[in-house]
Point group: C2
Chain length 325, copies 2
């Protein structure tokens, strides 16, 4: 069915039904604004991400359900990087003429399934036509205990640098797709359906462990660079300590240049954080072990140090990750 | 200068400098999320609007400074329609290849000037390339005293229907531009630089006057329809009571069909609200008189009534305003 047959208000009606009632939402989809509560003793976190067809995704490489999931996860990942708890999502969609109602439903099914996974409620947004690309604009709101949010700016010399999960899987999948090859399904999943590390971010912030934190969206080098610049610090990073998945190691064994993707690939959505040395032992307690593997990849150094890589550095040392222009 | 020469982070740096510090913003542009406070005893209002080139605007008809202003005002208008006070803006921009740094600066100058007018702070967003159209995604956040927000759903039979300002000016300007004519500058201003009625919305909500309120973005008939549907009510509207500007009357004198634009044109960004009869006298006190003209255009009736127009109805009575598909 064509979107024009059901119309903007028909689509909004479908969404209202699919979303239902939610905690702390006083007034949800269907009025001029959503009305929500921020619990006492908490601060509000807000983040926005645009996903534009032809720039951030191709419809022939991803299905719309995955795209719906991903458009939630990449935003929620920014909440996780502050130590926040996801609460609300606002969704702007620019819909191209060839998109059908079935496509819209697939996208929304994925979007709402991911929202439910993260316990975040869709509270409103805007639906519009687009003259060309599918446009997805998500704003995510979360909450965090007063003064518990983790900025990028708190890293101090002597702090250890930690990373969750593995690096480069998503960028490798994209690279292979671009070459017309079929990547390992686990790599493709990292690209098309990444998982935001909400539980880890919450646990770290609740314990007040990280002095700085960021999620890896632009690549390790670029995002570590953001921490170093905001914190006015340098760092030593051990190349051998970079966490790499088995499929990534297998695929890069015959082509060592691809190892650079672990440094500059981007879209990993892992958490990169710094921890004062006297707090590191806490990361080896059961609470954190059950939240998945953490790798200690280096240390924060004084500002004059810059960023020093010990071991095999990426070929393009000037590369600063994915730039959007 | 090309945007690629300055890059995403260069642009973000420019914005950080332009924005500066703001009340109740704990952490603004440049981290994973913005961190803000919602004052005790208040609720959070959130609204999102997409503006996409070729659908919502044409770059050859509007300058980018005006477009920056308008992208703030249309969002703030939704806050006003709930009786809210604007606080924060999040901005997603998809920038086409032909857009220069100077264009970007013009847009942002307008955006930040309007934000300052409404005392709203830019707290973050996302900058991206676009393969074609300029894409503007704004999320506005405001606050409102607990339980003072005005929904669409509270209109009751016997309530009077009021409207601020004048109708049809913006749609008439667009119509004349589409015909290749040069409209009166005051009409063009309504189209390209509309003003959100924040002070009026705040004053009405503070006094608890409106039983329902909406801003006119889709046209009087469509937006009144939203109130009637949400409130499960009908209405009588006096055609002769519709507030029309002098330039609108002049331009439509020889072409009465254009009068329909007052009913179905849209983008008026006036406030349409309903008031219980025992509260109407308050609207004639100096506090409200100084906030600009209000017109009493009809009454709310029982649900079975539907929407009855007394006097000259628009030619297309089935027309339900601007639909986005």
């Amino acid at each position: 069915m064509k979107l024009a047959e059901i119309g903007e208000f028909g689509l909004i009606g479908r969404l209202r039904k699919a979303v239902g009632e939610n905690r702390d939402v006083v007034l949800g989809i269907g009025d001029d604004c959503a009305v929500t509560e921020v619990p006492a003793g908490h601060r509000l976190l807000t983040t926005t991400d645009l996903l534009i067809e032809g720039i951030h995704f191709r419809r022939d490489w991803t299905d719309l359900r995955q795209l719906g999931r991903k458009s939630v996860s990449v935003n929620v990942s920014d909440l996780a990087a502050m130590g926040g708890t996801p609460r609300h999502l606002s969704l702007g969609l620019g819909l191209p003429p060839d998109l059908t109602v079935e496509d819209f439903d697939h996208f929304m099914n994925g979007f709402l399934a991911a929202a439910a996974d993260y316990q975040a409620a869709l509270i409103g947004g805007d639906l519009s036509r687009s003259p060309g690309p599918l446009v997805i604009a998500v704003t995510a709101q979360g909450v965090v205990d007063n003064s518990r949010h983790v900025p990028r700016s708190g890293a101090r010399p002597g702090d250890a640098v930690y990373l969750s999960g593995t690096l480069g899987d998503s960028a490798l999948a994209l690279h292979l797709l671009q070459k017309g090859e079929q990547p390992d399904p686990s790599l493709v999943r990292r690209l098309h359906d990444p998982e935001a590390k909400v539980a880890l971010g919450e646990a770290l912030a609740a314990k007040g462990l990280p002095s700085a934190m960021i999620d890896i969206s632009d690549g390790l080098l670029a995002d570590l660079g953001h921490i170093l610049e905001s914190s006015n610090a340098g760092a030593h990073i051990q190349a051998a300590a970079l966490p790499l998945s088995h499929p990534f190691r297998r695929a890069t064994a015959n082509d060592p240049e691809l190892l650079d993707l672990a440094w500059v690939g981007g879209e990993d959505y892992e958490l990169l954080f710094t921890v004062p040395p006297d707090q590191e032992a806490l990361l080896r307690t059961p609470e954190f072990i059950r939240l998945g593997p953490l790798s200690r990849i280096g240390t924060i150094e004084p500002p004059g140090t810059g960023l020093k890589i010990v071991g095999r550095a990426p070929a393009k040392t000037g590369a600063q990750g994915y730039s959007h222009f």
